[in-house]
């Protein structure tokens, strides 16, 4: 088990990581999710032993890793851009950690083939990294990391450099491979879909600190603060009079809990039988839906969605609210209404 306690990393005057405490249980995958520049990569490098801690401890199976150099930690780190050795073939790259451990020739050959099979690149052994596509390079980098038989796999935005469809497919593959090999992993990413697909638990990191940590589904369903909610994709935030108006129209009973109601776009759908009324201010067609900006009577601007591509700006629409896609959050640092 990996335990971080009060981990702090500073660069000169700026604090990149501040007082972060996390645990990753054996065999589980934790995603550290945050916008770029939030310090998540620095945290990962600190775990790998590539950055010095200014405070706090990193422990593996109860042992403090202070002073243990990177190469003796037994963790493998996979970079965003793979960092394959350009002068070596694919097989030599994967073979590298095996050679470092002085594994026998037969075992090395077998293992390289096995790993190429695992990442879906059988027969690629003799290729040079430069001749591979971005996705293939990342697969090789993953195979190389796994070849080290790491007790903990550290993944730094492993799929961010790839285009969308490839990323979705590889994220699924990555999840399967991690589960199949029972690897404990710490993943760092800014893409929440990637985090959801690959990890069991997630920690949302904002401005150097962990804002919320828990099972992925819980963070998804019930973000703790407004900042977290914004980051994991909630778009509309209601409080005060608009909130009361919205609750009435949506048919909710009883007193509202304190705080701000955060809603996902999908929480508000165009539905002729809906009780909310509004005027469409903007309609944008994306791949699988139409995204709307609606001025809702008595409530104000809200994000909504529909499957009806015929809806235009200025149309009057009826909307149905689905409160299972909403959550009450405490105000984060932002005060403006979304």
């Amino acid at each position: 088990m990996l335990e971080l306690e009060g981990v702090t990393v500073r660069f000169g005057g700026t604090t990149a990581v501040e007082d972060v405490s996390l645990r990753v249980g054996a065999g589980s995958v934790l995603a550290v999710l945050g916008p770029s520049g939030c310090g998540k990569s620095t945290l990962l490098r600190a775990v790998a032993g590539l950055e010095r801690l200014d405070a706090g401890t990193v422990r593996w199976e109860g042992r403090d890793l202070a002073g243990v150099p990177t190469h003796e930690r037994g963790f493998a780190l996979m970079f965003q851009d793979g960092q394959l050795f350009a002068h070596a073939s694919v097989a030599q790259n994967i073979d590298y950690p095996l050679r470092l451990r002085r594994a026998g020739r037969a075992e090395r050959t077998r293992r390289v083939e096995e790993l190429l099979e695992l990442v879906g690149l059988p027969g690629y052994g003799d290729r040079r990294p430069a001749t591979l596509s971005g996705g293939e390079q990342q697969r090789v980098a993953l195979a190389r990391s796994l070849a080290a038989d790491p007790v903990l796999l550290l993944l730094d935005e492993p799929l961010s450099a790839l285009d969308r469809s490839l990323r979705d497919r590889l994220a699924g593959d990555l999840r399967e491979i991690l589960v199949a090999t029972g690897t404990t992993a710490l993943l760092v990413t800014h893409d929440h879909d990637e985090a959801f697909t690959v990890a069991d638990r997630m920690a949302v990191m904002l401005a150097g600190s962990v804002a919320q940590e828990g099972p992925s589904s819980e963070v998804w369903r019930a973000p703790a603060t407004r900042d977290v909610a914004e980051f994991v994709g909630f778009e509309t935030f209601l409080s005060g009079a608009p909130l009361l108006a919205f609750r009435r129209a949506a048919g909710a009973s009883g007193d509202p809990p304190t705080g701000t109601l955060a809603l996902r776009r999908a929480a508000l759908r165009v539905d002729a039988s809906g009780q909310l009324r509004g005027i469409v201010r903007r309609a944008v067609t994306v791949s699988d839906a139409v995204q709307l900006q609606v001025d809702v009577e008595g409530v104000g601007a809200m994000a909504a969605t529909t499957q009806d591509a015929g809806i235009r700006r200025g149309d009057h629409v009826a909307l149905r609210a689905d409160l299972s896609l909403s959550a009450y959050v405490f105000s984060g640092n932002h005060q403006n209404n979304g």
Binding site: R52, L77, Q83, R101, S145
Partner: protein, 551 residues
């Protein structure tokens, strides 16, 4: 420094002590010894001579000549070098590789040989003798351009080659004329390289020794030749010390300038692969192509004249000049045959190269690390600068300093044959570091981190990621160091024992004496020496290492 590199850091730190000690004993000690003689003539500080030395009309004349000839040489070299850099690095045409090699060749030619070339070209009886330029300052200026063209072409060309053409194209698409594109996009992008090259050319011109000594005679002197004359002819050590300090200060300023522009050059500019950027010549490239043709003719003319005149004597074609090279009794000027001198040259050059490579590799390894702590980062950059110093400081000062400081136990090396290779290694060392360090710096530090994360220790990680890219630059730097050692004249002229001279020393001795036979032998020896260095550099050029000769 991150904790994991501590052990490696300590080892590297200890390894650095070797080149640092070398620099201290064979550079700082002689230079300060030389300065000490000048400023502490009787054991106490005596600066009374400073205003006296600086007030002499002769000193002023020398300073003035150094300044304007260097400035004019730099301006001319840039004017000719920029179009050539454009043609050789921005256009694609057959024979480009050959032209690049040709234009770079003069830089590795021994200074004495360049001097002899221009004399053979411009002296009475030479192909351009009718111009009456022999004995004026014109040949000196021409030799400056000849010698330094390579610096401009390679520094600016290397930058130009990698520039993303799309910036120019988007300016043109916005309606800029070719001239506006050049002014507003290309030139600003090239400025750091131009400034860097200009600074270095000025540095090389203002500290030129062999060329000025062979071409200027006693009429035209630079600070460097004046130091030589003051020490060897007039034994005026104080005057020499004053001029040395002046030169030292100027050189440090220029090196700092060059380093600053280099740093700004190394950061963000969109760079693309060379093959993507080069295009075929068009009609509007004609002026640049003409300039390139001129430059090629300018490089070939003195070379051709040297070769032709070395094959002639008394109006007829003959190999007599070459035959005399093997005969120790051919001229009373020399105590050994030129062939023996070639042997000496090769032997010392091998020693000097080994020395320069071992030390240069250690320095390059150290200065390419990027320690996290500010203190160590400062130490690394100070080292980087310190090992550049020998590039600009008067070789004469170093050479004479050797003689006056390394003359008593435990360092009584006056008669030791190690002095010459040591001095030559000192001259080659900055070039070796300049060739290796940028290559090492270009390796993404995350490559090492990736290797470490896979279980490789610091040394293994460095070996895995850096050794493969270092192989060719190492070979190239070896060739470069060898060529430089072969041609070194300034320090060697002081240190070579009369019975073991190197070829540049022999050539200088031959041309300082009258007589057609002596001149003929000097020409033939120059051809031999030029062939040697050009062959070595030809091999280097074949390795296609971009950073050689770009500083």
């Amino acid at each position: 420094m991150t904790p994991r590199f501590t052990a490696q850091g300590v080892t590297l730190g200890l390894a650095t002590l070797v080149p640092v000690a070398f620099l201290a004993v064979f550079f700082v000690l002689p230079v300060s010894g030389m300065l000490g003689r000048g400023f502490f003539p009787d054991g106490s500080l005596d600066l009374s001579g400073v205003p006296d030395v600086l007030g002499r009309t002769r000193t002023l004349r020398v300073l003035w000549f150094t300044l304007w000839s260097s400035a004019a040489g730099t301006a001319l070299t840039l004017a000719l070098g920029l179009p050539v850099a454009f043609v050789l690095y921005r256009l694609r045409f057959p024979g480009r590789g050959l032209l690049r090699a040709l234009v770079v060749m003069p830089f590795v030619l021994p200074t004495v040989v360049v001097g002899v070339m221009f004399r053979s070209l411009l002296s009475r009886g030479g192909p351009l003798g009718v111009l009456g330029w022999d004995g004026t300052w014109v040949p000196i200026l021409l030799a400056f351009v000849f010698f330094n063209l390579a610096v401009v072409v390679r520094t600016v060309g290397g930058m130009w080659e990698g520039l993303d053409r799309r910036a120019e194209e988007s300016a043109a698409a916005l309606g800029a004329t070719p001239w506006q594109v050049w002014r507003s996009v290309t030139l600003p992008a090239l400025t750091p390289a131009v400034v860097s090259a200009g600074t270095l050319v000025f540095l090389f011109c203002s500290t030129a020794f062999g060329v000025v000594l062979t071409l200027g005679g006693l009429r035209y002197g630079t600070v460097e030749t004046e130091i030589y004359l003051l020490t060897t002819q007039f034994l005026d050590l104080q005057g020499a010390a004053v001029l040395s300090v002046l030169q030292l200060a100027a050189v440090v300023v220029m090196l700092a300038l060059a380093a600053r522009t280099r740093r700004s050059r190394e950061r963000g500019l969109a760079r693309v692969g060379a093959t993507a950027a080069a295009r075929r010549p068009r009609r509007d490239d004609i002026p640049a192509l003409v300039a390139t043709a001129l430059a090629v003719a300018f490089v070939l003319l003195p070379v051709g004249s040297l070769v032709v005149r070395s094959l002639r004597r008394a109006g007829g074609w003959t190999l007599a000049n070459y035959r005399m090279l093997a005969d120790p009794g051919s001229t009373p000027v020399l105590r050994v045959s030129v062939v023996q001198a070639v042997e000496n040259s090769l032997r010392t050059a091998v020693d000097a190269t080994v020395l320069a490579m071992v030390l240069g590799l250690v320095v390059a390894l150290v200065v390419s690390r990027r320690p996290g702590q500010r203190l160590w980062a400062g130490v690394v950059s100070a080292l980087d600068g310190a090992f550049m110093l020998p590039l600009g400081i008067s070789a004469v000062t170093v050479g004479f300093g050797f003689l006056i400081t390394l003359d008593r136990p435990p360092l009584d090396l006056r008669t030791s044959p190690v002095l010459v290779p040591v001095a030559q290694a000192m001259v080659a060392l900055p070039l070796v570091v300049r060739t290796l360090a940028p290559v090492l710096r270009s390796v993404d530090p995350r490559q090492r981190e990736a290797a470490a994360a896979l279980g490789a220790g610091p040394w293994r990680a460095a070996w895995t990621t850096e050794a493969p890219v270092l192989a060719r630059p190492l070979l190239a730097a070896t060739g470069f160091a060898f060529a430089v050692s072969l041609g070194e004249f300034g320090a060697t002229s002081f240190l070579a024992r009369p019975d073991r001279p190197t070829v540049p020393v022999v050539i200088y001795q031959l041309i300082s004496r009258p007589g057609a036979e002596n001149l003929g032998m000097a020409l033939a020896a120059s051809v031999v020496l030029a062939l040697l260095t050009v062959t070595v550099m030809g091999v280097v050029e074949r390795l296609r290492v971009g950073s050689v000769g770009t500083f």
